[in-house]
């Protein structure tokens, strides 16, 4: 996820704490959330870290993709381990 939203190479090692993580930006798959924060408060130095600021529609699309991927992963996990009360 977040192929659409990337940071400039020089900021990949930068640490920003958000969304319950302090991993360097180059390792984050939730950059769309940082972009939302930056846009909400219009923080220029944060906005400048991104390669390019995608449109609102693109961010929404990214969020939807992440949501669907998350749902698929949950479904897959559930299929692998049937509930304890299953009789068969």
């Amino acid at each position: 996820m977040s192929q659409l939203i990337t940071v400039k190479a020089k900021y990949r090692d930068t640490v920003i704490g958000f969304n319950n993580s302090g991993k360097p930006l180059g390792l984050r798959d939730d950059l769309h959330l940082l972009l939302e924060i930056a846009k909400a408060s219009n923080v220029q130095y944060l906005l400048d870290m991104f390669e390019e600021v995608p449109s609102e529609e693109a961010i929404v699309e990214e969020k939807e993709k992440a949501f669907i991927e998350k749902k698929k992963a949950v479904k897959k996990r559930k299929q692998k381990s049937p509930p304890n009360n299953q009789s068969e």
């Binding site: 704490g17 939302e36 408060s41 923080v43 220029q44 130095y45």
Partner: protein
């Protein structure tokens, strides 16, 4: 609402837990906090992210440092006053109980005293209910906010007189501001990335 914008206070449907679990202090010059998107009413939702400011580096010691305190002795009290009908003033008292009088304790006190004159300290704490709060921050969204300064005031260090007496320091940090503290909603792992021990090693 024709006159003022007011909404009631809705309590959270959760067990109420008191006390502070952890307390950290850092150089307010080193950190920049950014608010998250406002809620549906346009009200603040607190700080959603924290970053080191340009020039502040881990190598240079730009960390939040834990203040270890005797169990169940960390606390934050905030008293509001508005005697003249102007702005409210919120008087903060951050307290902790530091064990065993030592040179380290003296050094810590000296640093706090010096920092209150030549700098500004940011205080971050996590309540026992998991909520994280920030006080003394200097930069928000890249801009300097109105002065939010703390100083050591009212601390008491004692040896005690017998074996069972307390030996150490009741730390008292005081400051006054225009409002209560903002909550940091970015989560504990986001804060932990900026926490180090006194040697500057990540913890």
């Amino acid at each position: 609402m024709l006159g003022v914008t007011i909404k009631g206070f809705v309590q959270q449907c959760a067990v109420v837990t008191g006390g502070v679990s952890e307390l950290w202090v850092g150089d307010a010059e080193d950190f920049d906090f950014t608010e998250g998107a406002a809620d549906a009413d346009g009200d603040s939702t607190g700080y959603a992210s924290v970053a080191r400011r340009t020039g502040a580096t881990a190598g240079g010691g730009a960390y939040l440092y834990p203040i270890q305190s005797q169990i169940e002795t960390l606390g934050v009290d905030i008293s509001q006053a508005n005697a003249d009908g102007s702005s409210s003033a919120y008087e903060y008292v951050i307290s902790a109980r530091l064990l065993q009088m030592s040179q380290k304790m003296t050094n810590f006190g000296k640093k706090l005293d010096a920092a209150s004159i030549c700098g500004q300290l940011v205080w971050v704490w996590r309540n026992n209910d998991g909520k994280i709060f920030v006080a003394g921050e200097k930069y928000v969204a890249g801009a300097k906010i109105v002065g939010f300064r703390f100083r050591q005031d009212g601390s008491k260090t004692q040896t005690g007189k017998k074996f069972t007496d307390f030996n150490g320091k009741d730390l008292s940090i005081k400051g006054t501001y225009l409002r209560e503290p903002y909550e940091f909603t970015g989560g504990i792992s986001a804060i932990s990335a900026f926490v180090a021990d006194e040697n500057g090693d990540s913890v």
